[in-house]
Symmetry: C3
Subunit: 339 residues, 3 copies
């Protein structure tokens, strides 16, 4: 699909400087763009780099940006926001159509209007696939599970029985929704499994990363709130409740029965111990280990996690430790501290 610079300027509400008829064949980063493509420069990038070196023919730039020899510029208030609008034009949203003859769908499953079920999809008894949902090859939709309106499941997603995926969700390849929670009781040195008869409920507009696992509840529901985004290889334990518009980065693990608030941000490789309660708008630095409850708005780091201000003082002093230790030995040698 080819647009012109003036089409793009109109779409992003920007001011066009240069050749309005310049075709835009694609969008790329400054260093990887080819001639005929569009790229963009943020205020921050320009402040740091000054010189713009790119083969891109069309650039989205902040207002007030100086003219660039041979480039067509589109000046806007917020280049990042504008480029997102442009990106949407170049996303290929064609995932096929209709029900593949190679899909196996239980006669008791309910399919909405305009559903896409690609090759080698299995839909079990009583499952519901709502209107406009796209289910890519090799997805498994368990008994009585629900895939909400307009959601897309990339290849190899597994939705165990009774689990619910809301509307307009994006579930990436290999994600496993609803495997058994890790629950055992010890009986004479052996681990006896606690049957996990609960489910997972994923609310609307949630994105789940590739190979991420969300365990079903022992009883009741494991829940991921509306608008929340989970990155790849994240582990969500049984009975966890995650609020709305929370963001959790890759390889983070949340143990059983944890409660996470709204608007929380967790970095990658964070661990949260079971039964911990995390308030709204908490920020947790990457690799932190959260072992206790956190109040609304807390910002923590470290393992065990502590407020950033406390951690900075401890970490600052830690770097002086070899010096402190040498001093300690000197004083000790002098007999200080002797009774």
């Amino acid at each position: 699909m080819v647009q012109t610079a003036s089409d793009i300027a109109r779409i992003v509400g920007g001011e066009l400087i240069g050749d309005a008829s310049e075709p835009v064949k694609g969008v790329s980063s400054l260093d990887e763009a080819k001639e005929g493509e569009l790229s963009f420069v943020t205020e921050e990038y320009y402040r740091k780099n000054k010189v713009i070196n790119t083969r891109a023919s069309v650039l989205i730039v902040p207002k007030g940006f100086p003219p660039l020899e041979g480039k067509t510029l589109i000046a806007v208030d917020d280049p990042m926001e504008a480029v997102i609008k442009v990106l949407h034009l170049f996303v290929d949203g064609d995932y096929g159509s209709g029900i593949s003859p190679y899909a196996v769908v239980s006669p008791s499953a309910k399919l909405g209007e305009n559903v896409v079920l690609r090759e080698f999809v299995v839909v079990e008894d009583g499952a519901v696939i709502e209107d406009d949902a796209v289910v890519m090859p090799f997805c498994y939709i368990g008994k009585n599970a629900v895939v909400g309106k307009g959601s897309i499941l990339f290849p190899h997603v597994v939705v165990y029985r009774d689990c619910v995926i809301g509307k307009k969700c994006v579930i990436h390849a290999g994600a496993v929704i609803g495997a058994d929670g890790f629950g055992y009781i010890e009986v004479e040195g052996r681990r006896v499994k606690i049957p996990q008869i609960g489910r997972v409920v994923i609310e609307d507009n949630v994105e789940v990363g590739a190979n991420t696992c969300i365990d079903r509840a022992t009883l009741g529901s494991t829940r991921v709130g509306e608008g929340t985004k989970l990155d790849n290889l994240v582990q969500i334990g049984h009975n966890v409740k995650i609020g709305r518009n929370t963001v959790i980065a890759g390889q983070t693990g949340i143990a059983g029965s944890v409660k996470v608030g709204d608007g929380v941000m967790m970095g990658g490789q964070v661990g949260v111990a079971d039964h911990v309660k995390i308030g709204d708008r908490v920020m947790i630095a990457a690799k932190s280990g959260v072992t206790g409850n956190l109040k609304d708005g807390e910002v923590v780091i470290g393992s065990p996690a502590m407020p950033v201000s406390v951690w900075k003082r401890i970490y600052g002093a830690m770097k002086k430790l070899p010096e402190i230790y040498a001093f300690f030995r000197k004083l000790k040698a002098k007999g200080l501290g002797n009774d």
Copy 2:
């Protein structure tokens, strides 16, 4: 399936207080239970919360529990143990039956009695699926691999060639059994692959979590002992030997050739360095990094991991570090420690 309160009381050997004919339509947690469902109260929960607020109609409670207005109670010695018995009644163990016409099974594979092979399963030459095993859609059973009697493989499990899964195992979706160990030698700056011709042996009654990876041995076997439970997204390196009734939580990684004893407990996100030996009944706190051998019964934490008692003293002092550092600077300024 609807049971009555008196059916349940009989099954768990409990004392019924209230309406024996009360139907039990399901089991849920106290806060998520609906009318007509059963829930339970443990001693510990009651001690902490005093007030029981639930819509559940039937409650399993500890002996000596006070009567509750409008609820049917079933009093037992150990509510947790009783509820597990009840949960088993509500697990839906119907995974389909027979060999799907959409399964592709090598003529040289051996299938036992009463085996379930669901749609789009691939079973390669010489593989063995023992009696009563259930293989869910999209599982791949490699050449000469074995799936033991009564085991269940959830969708998308991959068993590479020659690997053996014991009896009554549960392998969750996306688990990969027998991918190549991560072994290379460096030759002139390049990594040359060491062919991995060993296998994986999983003994009986093992549970493997979703998207967990267990690598095949370079030579011989990577082994997971009888009754051991692995959570999701766990990584087991080549030639690792794990003992019996050991429990390993999510996202833990065990490097090559490690030996782990019986009855060990590891928290989540633990890392164990290669060739380390871990004794029986060792407990390793979440996020620990184990770099040396551990004796039977040791309890460790931290990275590098150390005995909990040592860690507590160090960690306690670490919190005082800013204060110690301020004192150090004061003494230094006074000229103490000068020669």
Copy 3:
């Protein structure tokens, strides 16, 4: 395939001591080898263990090794290198042949000579599978994606649209190449997705571990350099560039836009913060958290990561902290440091 000891001696260029006609039915580790199999002893193993206890009939040993009662020995300069040659003889490289009638291949896809597409493979429009490539069951090759000459994709690999896999690559089961990068902007408390229209380019001779995820770039390419090896459950963020012959162990996570040099070695469970630049031949210990740029050849450990020499001094003093703290309290009690 049965070889004799003299065949093996010839192949590895070793000196045969003992029965030249001894058949070699397999290769295994010293402790797991059965009669009729070959095993090996390295200098290092012999130095540590002295006594060689094995049922193996044939042993590859270092030159100058003493004779062993009843064993056939093959003496070489480097047993490890020799055994790798032998292992190659015992790798079963038969992955089937031809295009399965159960594969679904778009008429616009291009298939090279001698390609293997196994059961239930999906190849989308415009995808290219080059000569001699092997695509195992349940792999998904997205629109316009490329699988290079001689590469093998184990079962359940997902290659999203436009992504490129080079020649002679090995991609293990469940790996996800090209899922969306984790990019959102916050608009009034909600996360708005930045469409990810870039791709992943994996160069030649790369190995990707099981269930590892490599995200597509927002714009341009996420890139994994020639000869690089990634272990299982690794997370590579969007727009990351990894150099050549780099080795990254299991469960390591690399956040967006990181640059990693050539010949780098990262242990397991390492985390690298976004936009960090890591030079060539850097070594990063397991579990480290890298938050800043690293120069060529640096060796770091810890979280935050620091040079090993610095870390050793700090860590050494940290173990003395309880003692330092006790001393501090004693001096304080004596009134030292008072004004």
